[in-house]
């Protein structure tokens, strides 16, 4: 090929580029108009500062299909997530109500909470783990999510709840937790065996009246907001806002919450330390235990 043909090719390419670049904004991902409720926002996660302007580009790239251009959870894919089939609708950011927080119920989550949610994803939903993105990208997304609700402009995030050191996981603690499971009526939603099949389970809806299912401990899957005992403790004390799972911060003491954590771990199919204590105990004393799931004024034991 004659070298000067390069010039022709270059001109052709340039012409094509001009045409295509000019056409792109007609219906480009980059051109979808996003409606935000606030001006630019920042997030602060450790040493990383997230910027919503950068987050907007990432949102268009990764999130808009489900959460939508308005951040209301009505992206083009939302219609396929049928709650009656066990799917969970995408989060509506305009309400600024978030399940996974380290802050008291009713308050805004911290930037780190949002960052962790993006990182962790939500098990049993279509929200994947975004660990593949850099810390900076996830911080940018956390900042951008805040622009969908005016609450972020007018309110401050709540203060993270304190998590005291975990109490010893022993049979006594597990038994106390079992009593609490009965007394606090956890079984009504989560079921006597923790299978998510309590008498109220079928009637539960979230704050948008969308059917929602309680967690099934026997599935062995991660919890929505983490997988450690600390995460489970935090879920009791903060509640999952926007769902029927309340905060128990005003109802139980920290030590009681740890007892409940220890008992709930026995409901999981994994070989947890608590299960290792509980299985032989049940084998030896199972007949002495009152079944969970009946109205027991005095609590079950």
């Amino acid at each position: 090929m004659k070298p000067k043909l390069y010039v022709l090719v270059l001109l052709m390419g340039l012409a094509g580029l001009l045409l295509t670049a000019g056409a792109t904004p007609c219906f480009a991902q980059i051109d979808i108009h996003i409606h935000t409720a606030t001006g630019p926002m920042e997030s602060h996660v450790g040493n990383v500062v997230g910027h919503s302007e950068e987050g907007a580009k990432l949102y268009r790239r990764f999130c808009i299909g489900c959460h939508g251009p308005d951040g209301d959870g009505n992206g083009e894919n939302a219609m396929w997530f049928d709650p009656t089939m066990g799917f969970v609708k995408p989060r509506d950011f305009t309400l600024a109500v978030f399940k996974c927080r380290s802050t008291p119920t009713g308050t805004l989550p911290t930037d780190e909470d949002l960052f962790n949610s993006v990182t962790r994803g939500f098990v049993t939903t279509n929200m994947p783990q975004w660990r593949g993105l850099t810390d900076q990208d996830r911080a940018n997304l956390a900042a951008f999510v805040k622009t969908f609700s005016e609450r972020w402009a007018t309110q401050k995030a709540g203060a993270p709840i304190p998590i005291p050191p975990e109490t010893p996981a022993n049979i006594e603690s597990i038994l106390r937790g079992r009593v609490l499971f009965q007394k606090m009526e956890c079984w009504k939603c989560h079921g006597p065996q923790g299978h998510g099949d309590g008498p109220s389970a079928a009637t539960l809806t979230d704050s948008k009246d969308v059917p929602i299912r309680p967690y099934n401990f026997s599935s062995g899957s991660r919890f929505k907001c983490g997988e450690t005992n600390q995460d489970l403790y935090r879920i009791f004390m903060t509640g999952l806002d926007g769902t029927p799972m309340p905060s128990f911060a005003d109802n139980i003491q920290p030590n009681d919450a740890w007892d409940l954590v220890h008992f709930l771990r026995t409901l999981q199919p994994m070989n947890t330390p608590e299960a290792a204590l509980w299985k032989p105990y049940v084998a030896a004393h199972g007949k002495e235990l009152k079944p969970i799931g009946q109205e027991q004024p005095g609590g079950g034991n």
Binding site: V9, A21, A23, Q29, N77, P128, Q136
Partner: protein, 493 residues
């Protein structure tokens, strides 16, 4: 002024004006064909087929620009095409969902190759001699077709099946494997069995070039003049692979044991007389990524392939028995590669270095049951051919829908197999530029407009693109320039 400039350009190329006019007309028609796309009302650009349909994610979630993976896509792939959210198994899919992707590229392309040996009298004849000429072809064409299905059989058990055809619909299995993920509940242990792409840090199967000359990495398929080793590190191979990765795939490793048959199925395959060695090759890879603030994710890795190929076959009454290769001789390829981002991840650089070595018997194409002194031509020193090669590829992502492409690639012979070969024989320089525009990127389908120009200079060997008459130049140090101009629509569904 512009017309005068164009006329000058065309004249200087010594192109007949009508040829230039036809070129321009074809280009104009193609661009015109693209115009209706501009008028589509309010289309949101989401993306790729089989998995995008399954998960409802835009294609840009997994791809910098499809088909090239970004790190999220790499994590997804490393997890065995699973998002790991306990919704990957088929039981969670709508029963009507079937994970099939189709991909094809209707296109117009021009291939131009210099220094090709052709008959001085077309059609041959007594007085005809071989002369060097430039050969040019152009016209509308089709690419091959991918008919890809992949997905999850059960949690942590995944598969891929890719019957791929050439442009005449002759199919072969480009890949077919089953994969067992997260063994021992660890992301560090995943096993794949079947035919698959080697775990190259820079994938040739998911790269962004399509033309005959640019649509392959020269380094991934290179063999020096006279070398009978048909191994290409870019070719899918048959075997078993153990891979592992950190949760975010920043750290990755792979160990593969592969049949020495260049991915060709069937022991008795007729094309396999020499290629089917009854030995196993080993491929090792490792890469580490790290964050560089707002610049994005940077990755550096190393790789090494150690293999053997037979140099002759067992015979029966003098007739080679296919698949019974003998006289295995070693070879290796080793090097490092990277994937670096700058300018807020808008500018990507993909560098690769490769060192190649083939045993002398492979290098001179001689059977190993013949003493080297006999196999080697008189007065010529025979030695193992070695070479160094590499490329630097760059992508500039104007936005998620427009990417500009460029690549420079070179191969330099270090030692020629025959001392009589010119020092620069088999050297290659390759240049590619282009762009891809993705007007349609739904989570149901994708369409890219692709424009690319690639040109390769090879010395004394037939260009890897196979353009022209497919023969080396008449002189051992003759330079062959092989160019491709490609304009097409790359669609998948």
């Amino acid at each position: 002024m512009f017309l005068r400039l164009m006329r000058g350009v065309v004249r200087s190329m010594r192109f007949p004006l009508w040829t230039a006019a036809k070129l321009a007309t074809v280009a104009a028609l193609l661009f015109t064909a693209a115009q209706p796309l501009y008028a589509l009302p309010g289309l949101k650009t989401m993306a790729i087929p089989a998995f995008a349909r399954k998960y409802g994610l835009p294609c840009s979630a997994c791809h910098t620009a499809w088909p090239e993976l970004n790190n999220f896509g790499q994590v997804f792939r490393d997890n065995g095409y699973q998002l790991m959210n306990d919704r990957d198994s088929p039981i969670w899919q709508n029963p009507s969902y079937f994970p099939i992707t189709l991909r094809m590229t209707p296109n117009w392309h021009l291939e131009n190759t210099t220094n090709q040996p052709v008959d001085s009298i077309p059609g041959g004849g007594g007085a005809s001699t071989l002369v060097s000429k430039t050969v040019q072809m152009n016209g509308f064409d089709l690419s091959g077709m991918d008919f890809w299905t992949a997905g999850t059989l059960y949690k942590n058990v995944t598969f891929s099946l890719l019957p791929s055809s050439d442009a005449t619909a002759t199919f072969h299995f480009e890949n077919a494997f089953v994969r067992f993920d997260n063994l021992a509940h660890s992301t560090w242990f995943n096993v794949k069995v079947g035919k698959f792409e080697l775990d190259n840090l820079i994938s040739e199967k998911r790269f962004l070039f399509l033309s005959a000359n640019g649509g392959l990495y020269q380094n991934y398929h290179f063999a020096p003049a006279g070398d009978t080793n048909n191994f290409g590190i870019g070719d899918n191979q048959l075997g078993v692979e153990l891979t592992g990765h950190s949760a975010n795939s920043y750290t990755r490793y792979g160990v593969a044991v592969l049949s020495a048959n260049e991915g060709t199925v069937g022991f008795g395959n007729g094309n396999n007389v020499v290629n089917a060695g009854r030995t196993y090759d080993v491929y090792l890879t490792f890469s580490q990524a790290f964050q560089a603030g707002s610049q994005g994710l940077q990755r550096l890795g190393a790789y090494a392939y150690f293999g053997e190929r037979p140099t002759y076959a067992q015979t029966s009454a003098g007739v080679p028995i296919t698949g019974l290769g003998l006289g295995n001789k070693p070879f290796y390829r080793a090097g490092f590669a990277g994937d670096f981002f700058l300018l807020n991840s808008k500018l990507e650089f993909l560098p690769l270095y490769m060192h190649g070595y083939d045993n002398v018997y492979l290098g001179i194409g001689a059977p190993a049951n013949v003493p080297l002194a006999t196999a080697c031509p008189p007065t010529v020193l025979c030695q193992a051919p070695t070479w160094n090669g590499g490329f630097l590829e760059s992508h500039y992502y104007v936005n998620p829908q427009v990417v500009l492409l460029a690549r420079y690639e070179l191969i330099r012979m270090d030692h020629q197999a025959l001392s009589s070969n010119p020092d620069n024989q088999s050297n290659i320089d390759a240049y590619s530029v282009g762009y891809r525009w993705y007007p349609i990127m739904f989570s149901r389908a994708g369409l890219a407009f692709h424009n690319e120009y690639s040109i390769v200079k090879s010395i004394g060997i037939v260009p890897l693109s196979g353009n022209g008459v497919g023969l080396p130049p008449l002189a051992a140090n003759g330079k062959v320039w092989s160019g491709s101009l490609f304009i097409g629509f790359d669609f998948d569904f």
